[in-house]
């Protein structure tokens, strides 16, 4: 079979996979929007317990990792093996920084008893507590952990894929004539970035003044 046809078939398959991923995360986003409409005050109060600083830094880290991915694809297109390996390693490092910051945020949530379950409690000194039903705030945190957790799982898988690609690139498996795996892993990484681009405003930003 013609190599160009192979390449475009692989690309098409990747985009179809990403379409299914959009529907997968779309279901979670849909649940979030519906529950936010039902329990508006509770969702606003819960959202305000998230730290804006770490969320913003993490958004910036992911955007930087998206840049290193496109530069990796460019390096592969131009056949610059050393550059390719470097950009792949940088992407892995930035992905791990994101996961590290995420782990710090989750630890804070754990210490504040914001993990849904028998020990859950919203801070007793929370200003608007008399207007809301604290048990319903657990729904926010369930969705928060489900959505950021699934996103982080995608990041972990992405880091694994990039580690494999780094090894192959270092061995010289890719050339300007064949770099489809780099291209498709890049598409996956950008998709995960876009999911975070929407998670960030929905979870952290839009309900800070309710």
């Amino acid at each position: 079979v013609d190599a160009e046809q192979q390449r475009s078939a692989a690309s098409l398959g990747m985009w179809l996979f990403l379409a299914t991923e959009i529907m997968f995360f779309g279901g979670a986003f849909c649940a979030y929007l519906i529950y936010r409409r039902f329990y508006f005050a509770e969702f606003a109060a819960s959202s305000q317990t998230l730290g804006l600083g770490l969320g913003t830094i993490n958004t910036a880290v992911l955007i930087c990792s998206s840049l290193t991915v496109v530069l990796a694809v460019s390096a592969a297109q131009l056949g610059k093996r050393k550059q390719l390996v470097w950009y792949l390693v940088l992407t892995i490092v930035l992905g791990l920084v994101f996961l590290g910051i995420k782990a710090v945020e989750w630890t804070q949530k754990y210490e504040e008893h914001h993990i849904p379950g028998p020990t859950f409690q919203l801070a007793p000194d929370f200003p608007n507590l008399q207007h809301i039903d604290p048990s319903r705030t657990q729904i926010f945190f369930s969705l928060y952990f489900a959505m950021t957790g699934m996103h982080a799982l995608h990041m972990v898988i992405g880091v694994g894929i990039f580690a494999w690609l780094t090894y192959k690139a270092w061995k010289g498996h890719y050339s300007p004539h064949y770099y489809t795996p780099i291209e498709n892993a890049g598409l996956y990484w950008h998709f995960v970035d876009i999911v975070w681009i929407y998670l960030f405003p929905l979870l952290y930003l839009i309900d800070r003044h309710r």
């Binding site: 179809l16 804006l52 010289g172 004539h177």
Partner: protein, 124 residues
């Protein structure tokens, strides 16, 4: 540099793919970082429903830049990929908008809004 001879069978027009200048990527990266700072800054202001409108508009601009430029959709010669991207967004809108409209009609809120308006307001 690697030895390409093993890959002769994969010789293709891949090398003829559009190679985007690095400058474009750097500019998009700077724009994405600026928009992130702006959207986080706006969150400190109390704009009422416009907090959501601004945040989701900025998120959509960022997502468009990533899809069109970083994911090369703008440069893709393969029209089928554009069809998939557009249909994926279309399916997502069916999921989100029809679900919200359904909930708005079955569980009208205490405001006097028409359910259709209320389902839009659910986003704000």
């Amino acid at each position: 540099m690697a030895d390409y001879s093993n890959y002769d069978y994969k010789m293709s027009q891949q090398s003829h793919e559009h190679i985007v200048p690095t400058r474009t990527f750097i500019l998009v990266w700077i724009a994405l970082l600026c928009l992130t700072v702006i959207t986080a800054g706006v969150a400190y202001l109390d704009l009422g429903p416009f907090n959501t409108i601004v945040a989701l508009t900025i998120a959509t601009i960022k997502a468009l830049m990533v899809v069109l430029i970083f994911m090369h959709v703008m440069y893709a010669s393969d029209k089928l990929i554009k069809v998939i991207v557009i249909s994926a967004v279309f399916w997502l809108m069916i999921l989100l908008l029809l679900s919200l409209v359904d909930y708005a009609f079955r569980f009208p809120d205490h405001t006097s809004l028409h359910p259709l308006a209320s389902s839009v307001a659910a986003l704000l």
